[in-house]
Amino acid sequence: MSTPAEPQPGAPDPDPVLADLRASVTDMRATARWMTAAAAAVGALVLAGGPLVVVKDLDDAGDVVTAAGGMLLAVVGVVWVVWRTGDVLAPRTATLDDLGSPELDGLRALIDRSPADFYGPTASTPAGLRRERRLRLTVAARLEALLAREDDPARARILTHEAAVARRNALLIQRLQHRLLAWVHAWHVRRSLRRARRDTLLASLLVLAGAVLYVTAPLDAKAEPTVVYVCGAAPAAPPKAVHLKEDPCVR
């Protein structure tokens, strides 16, 4: 009786779960890029369009200060959005130890609902997963070493089969570890994106307030100019812009 041929070790099949997680990070970063582009467009509008709209209507220092203050508010709002969305795009490191941080409470709760789907059948913590990986790699290495020294054909067949099983086990644990790291990374990016969305909403109110301020800067009530009449020998004609009910030079 012959044992079936063992699958030869080669490049492992690509993991669809890992690909999915990486694609979700790509999607989230694309969203952040759109937010940054929109904020930059608003910033360009504020800096370029604002002065063109109101500069000719600014009459006094108060108008200038109000308009400048409004533009500054709007620019601060734009910078705030760009800063926060930049956090989503910045590269970051992820380790299994990050699972213990308060930022990943949501991910820990998700894992706790079905730990075997994240840690596999034998581990239940990141440390357990590390330990399991070391164990499986050690077992695979020792089986290969035993196989290399084995002369008995029957035991060699058994060891060949067991070595292939050990390699598959080691690959499985390694894949679970990579997936967990990808989950940690994706959760960090997700959290950054949520924070950026919240801050974008708040910053847009700031931009709106600033825009309203500089657009309405020239609209404040101006004091009426004081007109001085110089009455000579002949009654002087009133200025064209002044409509009088009575001639001020008549006594």
């Binding site: 997680l21 164990l135 077992v139 598959r168 086990n169 499985l172 989950w183």
Partner: protein, 59 residues
């Protein structure tokens, strides 16, 4: 006569025709781990199907 050396984690032995490994606490049979993990789907895609491709209404 000294006692046999304590096994280390990852040690292998034959038990008849079966292979056992030492997992740090006990000798256990060396078996293939089940590859049946199904973690949640973060992306929500269903094999890349366009959700607008199959509308519930016609016309």
């Amino acid at each position: 006569m000294g006692s046999p050396p304590q096994p280390e984690e990852g040690d292998i032995r034959f038990n008849g025709n079966d292979v056992e490994l030492f997992n740090g606490t006990a000798w256990v049979p060396h078996e293939e781990l089940p590859d049946d993990q199904t973690p949640p789907d973060m992306r929500g895609d269903d094999d890349g199907d366009d959700p607008d491709a199959h509308l519930p209404f016609t016309g």
